[in-house]
């Protein structure tokens, strides 16, 4: 009975963590796209992105701990920390382990953001584009109930949300900073050079 609880906890927490990663990724994308709506000011994007990311730590921790502690799965702590060390579906679990490390890097660099260079923080944050697909793929391949309707629905929702946010982010185009040089160069004096000497 207890084993069942742990197993449900692992799958449930995993699914919730995935949903939260999805929300966080989407919120990060719309932060750059400067989304705002009635009742949703711009600062909500960044704020919610951070809060959801921090909250997802809890669910990720529950997912990993219950998976390791569950005697049925025979996953030792090694399997959770070393890619491919698992005897149960080594590659899918490895995806999860790598995603876990990337997640830790994201969280640590973001908490220490004011103390590290902006270039370093930004470089590590790009890693999130790898982390989310890995988490999703880990869920699909490592989960024993990956093809139940509810899990498929969760996966679909996650993919749609990130795809939508990503498309919006791409459509909105470059943030202001990348457009500055072209504005600077846009002189209206074509015939005459602006050469007052």
């Amino acid at each position: 009975m207890f084993n069942q609880v742990l197993w449900f906890a692992t799958r449930g927490a995993g699914a919730v963590a995935l949903l939260m990663f999805t929300a966080s990724t989407a919120l990060g994308l719309v932060t750059v796209a400067r989304f705002q709506a009635a009742g949703w000011p711009r600062f909500f994007n960044y704020e919610m992105h951070r809060r959801v990311s921090l909250l997802s730590i809890v669910f990720l921790a529950v997912h990993v701990l219950t998976a390791v502690l569950d005697p049925f799965t025979k996953l030792g702590i090694g399997a959770a920390l070393v890619p491919l060390a698992s005897t149960y579906r080594p590659v899918p679990v490895a995806l999860g382990v790598i995603a876990l490390y990337l997640f830790v890097a994201l969280i640590v660099t973001s908490i220490l953001r004011r103390h590290i260079s902006q270039g370093a923080w930004r470089a590590v944050h790009w890693v999130s584009y790898a982390m989310w697909p890995m988490a999703l793929l880990h869920g699909i391949t490592a989960g024993s109930d990956a093809f139940t309707p509810w899990m498929l629905a969760v996966d679909l929702v996650c993919m749609v949300v990130v795809a939508a946010a990503l498309s919006w982010r791409i459509a909105v185009g470059n943030p202001n900073k990348s457009r500055l040089p072209e504005v600077v160069a846009a002189s209206s004096w074509q015939a005459a050079r602006n050469d007052y000497r």
Binding site: R34, Q36, G39, R42, Q118, N176
Partner: protein, 122 residues
């Protein structure tokens, strides 16, 4: 007040119950002042949403910051504005440090091409 070119939404829809107004001299000023890294700033505009008493956005969505020390009553909001800038462009700094430039006595007159002085941002 227009928002940045990437969004045409009216700022009037923002949940902003506090009305901007002139500072009350009796309210007490802190010893901190707002500073901004103008190069990092990318016109996100969260600062103006969170501290409208001291920050408003220009025609292109970039902040215009009211100079001078932050009133003590607004310090909490100021800290939140600093914390919520997605690129960490906004800062709170002690007034003494912000006017160290004055101690070096760079004249208020401008820098010329090839000149030695630099801006103190407000």
């Amino acid at each position: 007040m227009k928002t940045s070119p990437t969004s045409q939404r009216d700022r009037g829809t923002q949940p902003n119950a506090r009305r901007p107004g002139p500072p009350d001299p009796a309210a007490g000023l802190s010893d901190l002042t707002l500073g901004i890294d103008r190069i990092t700033c990318d016109g996100y505009g969260s600062c103006a949403e969170l501290l409208p008493e001291m920050i408003e956005l220009d025609d292109w969505g970039y902040p215009i910051i009211r100079p001078g020390p932050v009133p003590t009553a607004l310090l909490g909001h100021a800290r939140m504005a600093v914390d919520t800038c997605p690129v960490l462009a906004l800062r709170l700094a002690a007034v003494a440090r912000a006017t160290m430039a004055a101690a070096v006595n760079v004249p208020a007159a401008t820098v010329r091409a090839g000149g030695p002085a630099r801006a103190t941002n407000r």
